[in-house]
Amino acid sequence: MPVVGDLSVLEMGRALARDDLNIRVGPYIYRVQSPMSIINSGMRTLYSDYPLVERGGFSDFHVAIRPPNWAQQLRRRVDFYIDNDRPFNRIEYRHAFAFLEWGMNWCVAQFSNEYLKLHAAVVAKNGKAIILPGLPGAGKSTLCAALALSGWRVLSDEHALIPLHTANVIPICRPISLKNESIDIIRAFSPQVVYGPLSEETHKGSVVHMKGDLSLDSHDVSPVPARFMIFPEYIKDKALSLEPRAKAECFMFAALHAFNYSLLGVDGFETMSTCMDAVDCYSLSYSNLDEAIEVFDQLVSPEETLV
């Protein structure tokens, strides 16, 4: 199957400009349009291994980043569009790639209600998925990035897509969003990390996206059974600890921070119940990424020595 990386810079620029770039991201097809070189560069860096989908076919999300008119182009300001609607305020050109990523996330958060969508990163190894819910700033994306660079498969750094009445997760691997200190932490963790365009002075501070599809099966969309739910928290200088947590408490946290639990009603409750019965729940406090990854490796080893 052709992938984005098969396109030359010129071909990519043409496809983006002509509204002709269809890429498969997990179970969805995005059609992306932009005349901007920063988008061309970012897409080529971070989406090079994403499957291209036939031109002119169906797309789940038709998104664009562009200035709305010449005046705004001169002022270097751009809009995010979905189906020609503009759901967000206009932003500066230099933040365009991060804006596109946020917009692509928003599409899933807003519209994909065929799944229960938890606000969580999901990683997998040996056929076992680990769901990582967490409040913003808890360190889940940093941990997710380090796991990706250590042989783990990233199913998502933002959305756990759970088909209704199952305990499976549908992979939707996208670039991993890193902010502020995490950017240098991950660069120090692995010099092989591939970053897209850096956006400085955004409302979240400095933001960069990391290539997340580092596993051979990153673009396989088969469901992966969830086996653990871990609530990570980075605490400076804290010795690593892994503590079991009550399932009811974790149910409540994950449901309250889900994108559409309430919308799904009884289906949401029943799907959460099914999922919680399938996972063991822990809190993980860590300050050292290598130690945290060792714990993860032990959890999914055939012996599961920690449980």
Partner: protein, 87 residues
């Protein structure tokens, strides 16, 4: 005075001391302790007085020491009432 349930609920209870109660009427989800979930269960079957509820919950109150059990039941009933789960 008899209490009765005014909700149609689903329960996620794995005997951990906490349970999740989903109120189908409002669509709200609540994290409740084992005494409260037992009260909701018994009131879903019949209307009961505070005293009768306490008797039904006696197994769940046994390990709670240092508190007035009558007052504890009243407090939980008040809280469940404020959540529109019982009346």
């Amino acid at each position: 005075m008899l209490w009765h349930s005014c909700s149609d609920g689903l329960v996620y209870d794995r005997q951990e001391g906490l349970a999740v109660f989903f109120d189908k009427v409002s669509g709200n989800t609540h994290l409740v302790d084992e005494v409260a979930i037992n009260i909701l269960k018994v009131l879903s079957e019949s209307s009961l007085s505070s005293g009768a509820i306490k008797n039904e919950c006696i197994d769940h109150l046994g390990h709670i020491s240092g508190v007035d059990q009558d007052q504890l039941i009243e407090d939980i009933l008040f809280e469940l009432h404020s959540l529109d789960l019982i009346e």
